[in-house]
Symmetry: C2
Subunit: 382 residues, 2 copies
Amino acid sequence: MAMFATPQSMHFSEPLALRSGASLRDYMLAYETYGTLNAGHTNAVLVCHALNASHHVAGVYAGQERSEGWWSNMIGPGKPVDTDRFFVIGVNNPGSCFGSTGPMHVNPDTGRVYGADFPVATVEDWVDAQARLLDRLGIGQLAAVMGGSLGGMQALSWTLQYPARVRHAVVVASAPNLNAENIAFNEVARRAIVTDPDFHGGHFYEHGAVPRRGLRIARMIGHITYLSDDVMNAKFGRQLREGLDLKYSTQDIEFQIESYLRHQGDKFSEYFDANTYLLITRALDYFDPARAFDGSLRRALAGTLAKFLLVSFTTDWRFSPARSREIVRALLENRRDVSYAEIDAPHGHDAFLLDDARYLAVVRSYFERIAAETAAQMEARP
Amino acid sequence: MAMFATPQSMHFSEPLALRSGASLRDYMLAYETYGTLNAGHTNAVLVCHALNASHHVAGVYAGQERSEGWWSNMIGPGKPVDTDRFFVIGVNNPGSCFGSTGPMHVNPDTGRVYGADFPVATVEDWVDAQARLLDRLGIGQLAAVMGGSLGGMQALSWTLQYPARVRHAVVVASAPNLNAENIAFNEVARRAIVTDPDFHGGHFYEHGAVPRRGLRIARMIGHITYLSDDVMNAKFGRQLREGLDLKYSTQDIEFQIESYLRHQGDKFSEYFDANTYLLITRALDYFDPARAFDGSLRRALAGTLAKFLLVSFTTDWRFSPARSREIVRALLENRRDVSYAEIDAPHGHDAFLLDDARYLAVVRSYFERIAAETAAQMEARP
């Protein structure tokens, strides 16, 4: 039977101080919860989202059959992260465009829509915002924080910013920072958006415009980097869109891969906010916990107390296994408890969202361990 | 002492029939030659250019010290392709924007600038145009045809279209066709250009406009794919452009890699023609000699008579060594004479234009072999 999800929101009037020096006040966070918080409040799992996702992590909305949460193969009743055992929280980060306060909302200081004036938030700022939400929900310590890609960076950052509040961190298809190529792809996407005449310096809402051209290009670039070479060749190869004859045209669609990318770009430009795209790619660029430690990830991770599961995928060239191994190595150098699985999957970075029996089994068994620990902890209580 | 280059051009009034069914009439080809054609006309080497290059392959223009040809580390007096021994020809392909007839020229059928109406030309069409130029220059058979990347595709196509006119083909950093990812990157670049409001459906010249935004994005994407991950990390890494402090801005330049890419994009948009970009990326997409043989490269290459040198570079992820090996394998299955060098170079696809002692030595020794064969052939003449 389907699990039903109910979007909720929480208002925060205390200003959230951001790493940039700016602050955010009078903001809302959209979130969802699944399962039941136990009496000791020890079974909470926070799920952090990546670029194009939201607080709608699992379940479906009543009456909307096709509204599955973005990680519903992973999270739900009887799923690897079992909501019959865990109280799972999904939260939309500030600056995003799925319900939490973001660039399309009104700036309480000016009475105008934020647009490009929405303050740049970092992964660390998001984690702070998430921690406040947990305070409100009465959750002192998380059984686990988990996320893939940019979500994995947030999970990692939790163990640094709030070491005592995290028992386990599950970091999937992630990296300790972006490399030059990652930043380069983000920058091309941002330039496509910013130079779209419909962007209007980020205040396009007031012009009744949407920089769709830029968003389309950004998404097309993104899609290429989410997929592996192999899976693109397997799915599309050099297949023509129509029949066998070439059209000899520079502007018409000729190959299936072109059709797929244009479709993805079009869809995305219908619902994603351009300023959010800029903000989230910048948060990706900025994340670099080793920066304050002269580039030493070992020293950066010295303060962590959590236990870790890291997962990477062999064909992920956006956040390659080598990047996950950097984190594993730095944790081991600090004698932390680390499990690591490198899944031989053909799907590239996208693999973290897909069904792969080995991947799901690794996460399931890790969460069984967490559940057992949580139960033992409860019994040991006076 | 510098070798001086002199651009020349040849007019062709006979229509060139193109694979698309269209034809090109009254066109010019810009070309340059270096060295001296020997008495037997047996020492000619044709050099084919890739996307962003021209007939100006080697030497410098008198009075312009910094005008070196794009392959002048490879070609010139005493260079691996020694112009003291070989008569080297560089030719700009029709549709390009460096002197040969292209989209910015007047269509003799309409009296209007071609713009988007310039006919789509394929690698095979370019080879036909090159063959006609050689006819005019009195060159029946080439000692060698050579090129890198898209230029390598032309060299390979020469051995299929005019097997008896090519003794050796030197195919560097190339591929038997584009894979889905290659086409995908081309398509994103094309969409950026075509959706730029200044593109005006490809007739921007009449509007006094240039789709610079699109060209910038196209070039930035291109640059990322020319470089390896490693070399980007080594050259730029996460280095900030200014000092140590983050600006926390989505639109300002923060990282050196952003500054580099924007600069490359700006430069390119000043001199490269948008319609040419579309045409040349389409020629890349279309090239696929195995297509007419149910995908069998072995059968496609059965008609070749030339000897081959193939070179690839380990960190080239645009045209990876695996793609060169496909060609090598298909040639060996046809019992052709093939030499193959896989150079362990960090520079990605760009490596084919750079100084790498092993790479230059491989080409040098291959051309020494060609020179020896050519000399023996001359002596054996009655």
